[in-house]
Amino acid sequence: MGFENFGTVSFTTEAKAAEFITYLEQGKVMATRCPKCGVSYFPPKADCPSCLSGEVEWFEVKGKGKLATYTIVNYGPSGFENDAPYILALGEFEGGIQIMSRLSKDIAPSDIKAGMSLVVSSLKRPDGRISYEFKKG
């Protein structure tokens, strides 16, 4: 399967990194690493932007990250009206991986602060679509 069921609104249904979706269905948030130059990428790239090699390895983004910054979105773009308000956050993970995603609605607003520990996990939305989100680490 491709990206047609990914995120609140999907844009690209056909992309070479579609394995990401297969893993996400299995509950895994994956990144890619280029064995030639050792650089890791999130979002995953099917071809390495650094050396342009097509032989990349998939690995799971595990472990605890750190909340770098966040914002409350009161007015979502068209297609996201029913999601708002939601909290977008930038998380920093091992190996220089940064992820922009939403904070889980399970986290109490009073608990949210820059520097807090995060994990990234797959998300099945009530409408059946899939994505990923940050939970408390």
């Binding site: 990206f3 990914f6 995120g7 609140t8 609104v9 999907s10 844009f11 690209t12 992309a15 999130f42 979002p43 770098a68 910054t69 966040y70 914002t71 409350i72 979105v73 009161n74 007015y75 979502g76 773009p77 068209s78 297609g79 996201f80 999601d83 708002a84 939601y86 977008l88 930038l90 940064q98 992820i99 922009m100 995603s101 939403r102 820059a114 994505s131």
Partner: protein, 393 residues
């Protein structure tokens, strides 16, 4: 052939705002205003057209718009006739490209027009289309489509790291709306008080409605030529394109190149290159038009353009150093906050204002201005574009 020196002869704008007019209508209005500004020029002598617009394909259902506009304004280009897309920096990209073509002798007289028709009859589409301007597969899928959330995070980090206050953010809006009061072509001619900005409807805190540029329709145009031709066509002081830079280091929020969101390393790189190429330093700039898409943007731009120290942008704007009579007047025609921001049009509006400033005929004139700078950030802060203009080459 030695490189030719390139001058901007004059500029024009359509009325900017919420318009019941097509992108081609507004391009024509801007071109007319621009031709009227250079009365000696016969428009039949214009040999090239660049049209800067990112959304004419989607929102006006008009791709390959350049020849459509050429026909509408009655010119028959023989050197170059094409569209340029760098979103918010499209107009500046067009001016840089035209400069290069004229410098190299591949074109002689070029008109650069830019702008957008952003309001569509179905208003939801206006906001849906915004999602095309980012890496929509990944950033878009999370709902980061509209820019305020990203700049809200930037503002919060700046407040935390440097103690910048909401009053300082608001001061940018107060200044630029005041500067736009007498600019009839801009979107707003209404001053706002500090209290009004502070209390404006929260969009993505700490940014309220009056911290954000509006959605605006409009076009702007400038005409460029080489020095010899410029002397023939105009009695006004010549305004030269002295140095330019455009820097792209990443394309999506997750790969931000700086230490944190307040660290605009791509802007500093662009500034360094542009100052070197123009053989000037930040202290030499007499007037600047910088990209105030949000109030926080102008504060960080003061720092990373080198007008003040890193972290001191807040006090710099609050104490009037970027106002008329201050160290460097910024956004003298109202900037994006008062004029609005039809993406491809903005860099050209800025160039027009700088040309008027350096020729001593701006509505809000900075006395004796000889060197001016324009700056755009584009997309989700993924690219920075700078042009430096001067009365001397």
């Amino acid at each position: 052939m030695a490189d030719r020196k390139v001058c901007i002869l004059g500029g024009g704008m359509s009325k900017w705002g919420v318009r019941e007019a097509s992108i081609v209508d507004m391009a024509q209005e801007a071109a007319k205003d621009c031709f009227d500004d250079v009365p000696v020029l016969k428009k039949e002598d214009v040999d090239g057209l660049l049209f800067a617009s990112s959304y004419c394909g989607r929102r006006s259902f008009q791709v390959n718009a350049a020849p459509v506009i050429a026909e509408r304004i009655g010119i028959k280009p023989t050197s170059m006739c094409t569209r340029v897309d760098t979103l918010c920096a499209g107009g500046s990209s067009g001016i840089i490209l035209a400069t290069g073509l004229i410098k190299a002798g591949m074109a002689d007289i070029m008109i650069v027009i830019g702008g957008e028709k952003l309001y569509t009859p179905q208003r939801w589409e206006t906001y849906y289309s915004e999602l095309a301007s980012i890496d929509h597969d990944w950033d878009g899928a999370q709902g980061i489509g509209l820019p305020p959330p990203f700049f809200s995070m930037t503002a919060q980090e700046h407040m935390k790291r440097y103690g910048t206050t909401k009053e300082q953010l608001s001061a940018v809006s107060v200044k630029n709306r005041r500067n736009g009061l007498n600019n009839p072509k801009g979107h707003f001619q209404k001053a706002v008080s500090l209290e009004e900005v502070m209390a404006s409807r929260p969009i993505a805190p700490p940014l309220g409605l009056l911290d954000c540029t509006p959605v605006t329709d409009g076009c702007a145009a400038v005409i460029l030529t080489h020095e010899d031709k410029a002397k023939e066509l105009s009695d006004r002081p010549l305004v030269y394109v002295r140095g330019t830079a455009q820097v792209a280091l990443h394309s999506m929020s997750m790969n931000w190149p700086g230490e944190d969101l307040t660290d605009w390393v791509h802007l500093r790189t662009a500034a360094k290159k542009a100052y070197e190429r123009a053989r000037v330093s930040p202290d030499d700039i007499d007037v600047a038009q910088t990209h105030d898409c949000f109030t926080i943007s102008e504060i960080i731009e003061m720092e990373d353009l080198g007008f003040c120290k890193k972290g001191e942008g807040g006090p710099f704007v609050e104490s009037g150093k970027s106002d008329f009579g201050g160290k460097i007047p910024v956004n003298t025609d109202g900037g994006l906050l008062a004029c609005g921001h039809p993406f491809g049009g903005t860099g050209i509006r800025q160039a027009r204002e700088i040309v008027y400033q350096l020729q001593g005929r701006a509505i809000g004139q900075v006395e004796g201005a000889k060197i001016g700078l324009t700056h755009n950030l584009s997309g989700l802060n993924v690219e920075h574009t700078i042009l430096i203009y001067g009365r001397e080459p």
